[in-house]
């Protein structure tokens, strides 16, 4: 029984069957990659997991509870955090403030008025955020305007913000898309370090095989909206069906 | 760099300097200078009047006309120009040497035809510039609001154009005076003429601007026309913000009505009349009679805006420059020579109000509002253009002849677009001060307030 159980999920957009009969089980504390060619339905599946889309059929269970019918912030409160393809951070805020917001969310839930107290006076939050920045190797950037950072730093900050919530499941949507090689490698190292040091499950959607095989210990291949095969990396690498459907295409 | 104090500018400059110097903003002051003091008591050689007219917004042209008349009045009071109505006014207290020997200055404000803005600009003139009297305005909402303010501040309010019954009805104030006529008087003057011109068995359809003034006018017209035998088919309220009245005009066609009464003013009236003519109402024959349109309150600017459409349309006015009496001729001559156009009825009202105020101060021998109130109450006069007039003591409303006018069929120039049909004598439009449309017995002027 995995921490995330996807059963018979189907989703139709007009005439297009984007997903059909998707079954997926993500084991606790694993790094599970979902790969597939363009248009395979990876992003649609991800959106079904976080509440942005509601599947037409099937069920999505997280830790024994259904996520269907819940809106994104509720699902997040259940323990699922999401990293986007283009980093979604609070560009108008400083790096430290960016990091403080998930700390508040973790401690206070989805809404709480702290309208009068000075935010910097909340030592507990500030310290936690600063510690997280140290973990992310960004302590020197804490006063920076976050929009002015490099893409790699933004990605790092975004991952850090997700971790600050201490999620049980971290979803990553092509975390290295559009990154230079050096940034990509840094990100891989960071994710490795996270999965080694923390009790966390990671589900990653990725195009870049280098990233997938460096990180994943379980891989699901999606093709035309339905899972082709699910196995460990070694077997996937040797699977001719996968080569045909996916690897061959990108080569 | 003219050194002579006799140039126009020199006079104005010294005047204003001295005027501002004495007009310390002591209004609303708890710590008054002396027990006998009153708000903005002029102590120097000048006295400041406040002219509060719409300078922006749809009534800006009307406001401009009022301002021209007020400036003319100040000129005449200060002994400049040809003296205008000072020569014809039956009270001979004014000598053309200012008021009580003090030279008259004025300040201006913009009412924007909003009661808030009007009160703000009036307060500015009272608090900052030391105005001792406020005059002007082109709507009843503004008049009532500013009148209330002047009552509280302890200055005199001489209303400009305000036609609602309330101004001297339920909202009457001891410090406020209205020279302009009102909806009741319009109705009382119009009804007999309507009966004579259109017959006593007409069926009327009212379109009424959906706010206080519209309602009071509709109420007045309905009452007086029904009294002479007309039937009111329908009375429809139109939103003030309407620009197109087609959807209100269209139902008139098949309503069986043969008279349309437009209880609209300004832009509303121009558009509703234009639309009514567009729909061919005036060409229709209903119940065997020619369809007619009545606009109870006319103004020259509305007539200009409505253009050809007003031909044959009946209405009433406070004053028209074509009125032939000594005062009117003198006023039209000096206004026309100075500005190249005849005065409108709101201009005449403001001109008369300024002179009446000045005259009352002279006769009272003081600027003290309570003295001025006393001098104006029950004052009978002539020679300001409207013929014999009474400022009634009970409600501070002027009673004078009311003009019934009609859009001219063949105007010879751009100014004689209206022709006078009848001059209804004052007696016929007089009503008791406790008339139910005017607040009944409850309405009271209160005490005059000299402020300070």
């Amino acid at each position: 029984m995995g921490i995330l159980e996807v059963k018979d999920v189907g989703k139709r957009f007009g005439g297009l069957q984007a997903l059909s009969d998707v079954n997926l089980s993500v084991k606790e504390n694993s790094v599970h990659a979902i790969i597939g060619p363009n248009g395979a339905g990876k992003s649609t599946l991800l959106n079904c997991l976080v509440g942005k889309l509601i599947p037409d059929t099937g069920s999505v269970m997280f830790d024994g509870q259904s996520v269907l019918g819940r809106v994104p912030h509720e699902i997040n409160q259940m323990g699922i955090s999401r990293v986007f393809q283009t980093p979604e951070i609070f560009g108008d805020l400083t790096v430290l403030e960016n990091m403080m917001i998930p700390c508040f969310a973790k401690r206070d839930g989805h809404f709480r008025m702290h309208a009068v107290r000075n935010m910097m006076a909340d030592r507990e939050i500030v310290e936690k955020a600063e510690a997280m920045l140290v973990d992310m190797n960004m302590a020197d950037k804490k006063g920076m305007h976050s929009a002015s950072m490099s893409r790699g730093d933004k990605r790092r900050l975004e991952i850090g913000m997700c971790l600050a919530q201490e999620p049980r499941l971290l979803l990553l949507d092509e975390p290295t898309a559009g990154m230079a090689r050096a940034d990509t490698n840094n990100t891989i190292d960071l994710l490795k370090q996270i999965s080694d040091e923390r009790e966390i499950t990671i589900a990653i959607i990725e195009h870049d095989m280098h990233v997938v095989f460096s990180l994943a210990n379980r891989i699901t291949v999606l093709a035309q909206g339905t899972p082709l095969v699910e196995d460990n990396p070694e077997n996937i690498r040797g699977n001719p069906k996968v080569r045909e459907a996916y690897l061959g295409e990108t080569a | 760099m003219s050194k002579s104090n006799f140039t126009r500018r020199g006079v104005l400059k010294t005047g204003a300097v001295a005027g501002a110097g004495v007009a310390l903003p002591t209004i609303f002051t708890a710590q008054s200078a002396s027990a006998s003091g009153y708000t903005n008591e002029p102590t120097g050689s000048n006295v400041t009047l406040g002219f509060n007219v719409p300078q922006t917004g749809p009534y800006a042209d009307e406001g401009n006309d009022e301002l021209l008349a007020q400036q003319l009045a100040v000129e005449h009071l200060n002994g400049m120009g040809d003296g205008g109505c000072l020569n014809t006014f039956t009270s001979k207290a004014l000598k053309g040497n200012g008021i009580l020997g003090k030279k008259v200055d004025f300040v201006t404000g913009d009412t924007q035809t909003k009661s808030d803005a009007a009160r703000a600009s009036a307060k500015t003139m009272i608090e900052k510039d030391g105005a001792i009297m406020i005059n002007g305005g082109s709507s009843s909402g503004v008049a009532v609001a500013v009148q209330g303010l002047c009552q509280e501040a302890g200055v005199i309010f001489m209303a400009g154009l305000t036609h609602s019954n309330d101004t001297t009805g339920k909202d009457r104030k001891a410090n406020g005076f209205r020279h302009f006529f009102n909806a009741y008087m319009s109705a009382a003057a119009l009804a007999p003429v309507l009966a004579k011109e259109l017959g006593a068995d007409r069926r009327a359809y009212h379109l009424t601007a959906d706010y206080t003034w519209g309602w009071t006018q509709e109420e007045s017209i309905v009452a007086s026309t029904e009294a002479m035998g007309w039937e009111t088919v329908n009375a429809v309220k139109t939103p003030l913000a309407s620009t197109d009245f087609s959807s209100y005009i269209a139902p008139v066609l098949n309503s069986g009505a043969d008279v349309l009464v437009l209880n609209h003013y300004g832009g509303n009236m121009v558009n509703s009349l234009t639309n009514a003519v567009q729909f061919g109402l005036l060409d229709k024959l209903v119940n065997g009679k020619d369809f007619k349109i009545v606009v109870p309150l006319y103004s020259e600017l509305m007539a200009a805006g409505a253009g050809e459409n007003i031909k044959g349309v009946l209405g009433s006015m406070n004053y028209n420059w074509q009125l032939d009496n000594e005062g009117s001729r003198a006023f039209v001559k000096s206004f026309g020579e100075k500005y190249g156009k005849p005065p409108s009825n709101s201009a005449q009202t403001c001109y008369a109000q300024v002179l009446l105020y000045a005259d009352a101060c002279e006769r009272a021998g003081t600027f003290n509002p309570c003295g001025v109130v006393e001098a104006l109450e029950g004052f009978e006069f002539d020679g300001l253009g409207n013929g014999s007039t009474l400022y009634r003591a009970e409600d501070h409303q002027c009673f004078k002849d009311v003009l019934v006018v009609r859009g001219a069929q063949n105007p010879t120039n751009q100014y004689d677009t209206l022709e006078i049909v009848e001059v209804t004598p004052a007696a016929q439009v007089t009503y008791p001060p406790n008339h139910p449309m005017f607040g009944g017995d409850e309405a009271s002027l209160g005490e005059c307030n000299k402020g300070a």
């Binding site: 976080v50 912030h73 997040n76 986007f84 560009g91 805020l93 917001i101 998930p102 989805h110 809404f111 309208a115 009068v116 107290r117 000075n118 935010m119 910097m120 913000m161 919530q165 | 760099m1 003219s2 500018r9 400059k13 204003a16 300097v17 001295a18 501002a20 310390l24 903003p25 002591t26 609303f28 002051t29 708890a30 300078q55 922006t56 004025f106 300040v107 913009d110 909003k114 009661s115 808030d116 703000a120 307060k123 500015t124 608090e127 510039d129 009532v144 609001a145 209330g148 303010l149 509280e152 309330d166 959906d210 706010y211 206080t212 003034w213 309602w215 939103p239 913000a241 009271s444 209160g446």
Partner: protein
């Protein structure tokens, strides 16, 4: 100090305090009999307006400046506040405390209802929803709710206190104008110093103290976690929901707070002058507060106050400059020159003050996107740099 960790904030509060408390001097720089006295703004009514619209704009900025939600209907709350106050005057007494309290409460309730519905949408859709609600309120107040059978607003004339109103707590000896436990809002002490004359008005000072309190509160909100959440919403709503936070209660709270500020401003307005007109609810009035905020500097603390002062100054001072005044100014010039100057300036003052205001809007937005605050900052920088280049090489100042 005062819970303000940031030294800059505390300085800002001190500056605003000094400006408001010394306003009678600051705004009356010219001797009262000089030709420049025209530009003096230190008389009670205008000073009251400055601070009241300052409160309105500061509150509006909490919504617009922090969350980026542009409401075109905030004047409705101001109007509701005014009506509530005047009703308190009519029913209870002229004491301003219950009046202002009810104004704030009623405006908050209205803001809660309108905000709850409007905040279901964002962007221009939100703006138009608020506009629609405000225009409805205006139409209702101007005519529908002023009919003789059910007269809640007294329509065109405006709601005011009549002699036959109950005023159950009114006692002899209390002033017949709005007062604070007997202290009339109208009392003014005039101080003459040489050629100058300064007015100290009770109503103004009460409004000024209220402004200081709510300005202080605004600083606290800006610096609070709540304020940060609001800025985060403006910055990125997606990240907000994927951080487990629900943006809507935050925006609704901001909406209600700014509605309460508007109600407070409306209540104070009625307290200074007990008449509530429907025009103050019109969309143009809502537009005005938007303009004040942008003109001053959106999202800055002091910007809205500056913007409010700026616009009200124009409305009240420039609109009063008529031909006579102009001729007086240029009387020192030769005749032809004088007439020429008057001819050139005339379209922009007096009845043309709207034109000048429109031009100012355009110039400020084109050249100072950050509003007057940015203008001030640039000026400050320029002066600093000039100073530096003179007595360089002074030590570099630490960054703020």
């Amino acid at each position: 100090m005062l819970g303000l960790n940031n030294k800059k904030d505390f300085t800002l509060l001190l500056v605003v305090a000094a400006l408001t408390l010394l306003a009678p001097f600051v705004l009356n720089p010219f001797p009262s009999d000089s030709a420049m006295a025209q530009f003096n703004a230190g008389y009670p009514d205008l000073m009251q307006r400055f601070v009241i619209f300052g409160i309105f704009a500061v509150g509006f900025n909490i919504l617009f400046g922090l969350t980026g939600y542009l409401s075109f209907g905030h004047a409705a709350f101001l109007g509701v506040g005014s009506y509530a106050s005047v009703w308190m005057f009519k029913l209870l007494s002229y004491n301003i405390v219950p009046a202002i309290l009810l104004a704030v409460v009623m405006a908050s309730i209205f803001a809660l209802l309108i905000g709850y519905v409007s905040l279901r949408r964002s962007g221009i859709y939100f703006s138009i929803l608020t506009l629609a609600f405000a225009q409805m309120s205006f139409a209702l107040a101007y005519s529908v709710l002023s009919n003789p059978k059910f007269n809640l607003t007294n329509g065109e004339t405006g709601l005011q206190v009549y002699a036959n109103d109950p005023q159950v707590f009114h006692r002899a000896g209390l002033p017949d104008v709005p007062h604070l436990f007997g202290l009339s809002m109208r009392s003014t002490y005039t101080m003459d110093v040489g050629a100058w004359s300064f007015s100290f008005n009770v109503g103004y000072y009460i409004s000024a103290i209220v402004l200081l309190l709510v300005f202080y509160l605004a600083i606290r909100i800006f610096r609070s976690p709540f304020g940060m959440m609001l800025r985060a919403i403006k910055s990125n709503q997606t990240r907000m929901s994927y951080t487990g936070l629900n943006p809507r209660p935050y925006t609704l709270a901001a909406f209600v707070i700014s509605g309460a500020y508007a109600g407070l401003a409306g209540g104070l307005m009625a307290a200074m002058d007990p008449l509530a007109g429907a025009e103050r609810m019109q969309w143009t009035a809502s537009g005005e507060v938007v303009l004040m905020t942008i003109l001053g500097g959106t999202g800055t603390l002091i910007g809205p106050i500056l913007g409010a002062g700026f616009i009200k100054y124009f409305e009240n001072i420039f609109s009063k400059i008529n031909d006579t005044v102009l001729h007086q100014w240029f009387a020192f010039m030769p005749d032809g020159m004088e007439d020429f100057m008057v001819f050139v300036i005339k379209p922009f003052v007096g009845k043309g003050w709207n034109l000048t205001l429109g031009i100012m809007f355009m110039l400020v937005v084109i050249f100072l996107p950050g509003g007057l605050v940015e203008g001030g900052q640039r000026l400050g920088k320029w002066i600093k740099n000039r100073g530096k280049s003179k007595d360089s090489p002074a030590k570099t100042e630490p960054a703020e």
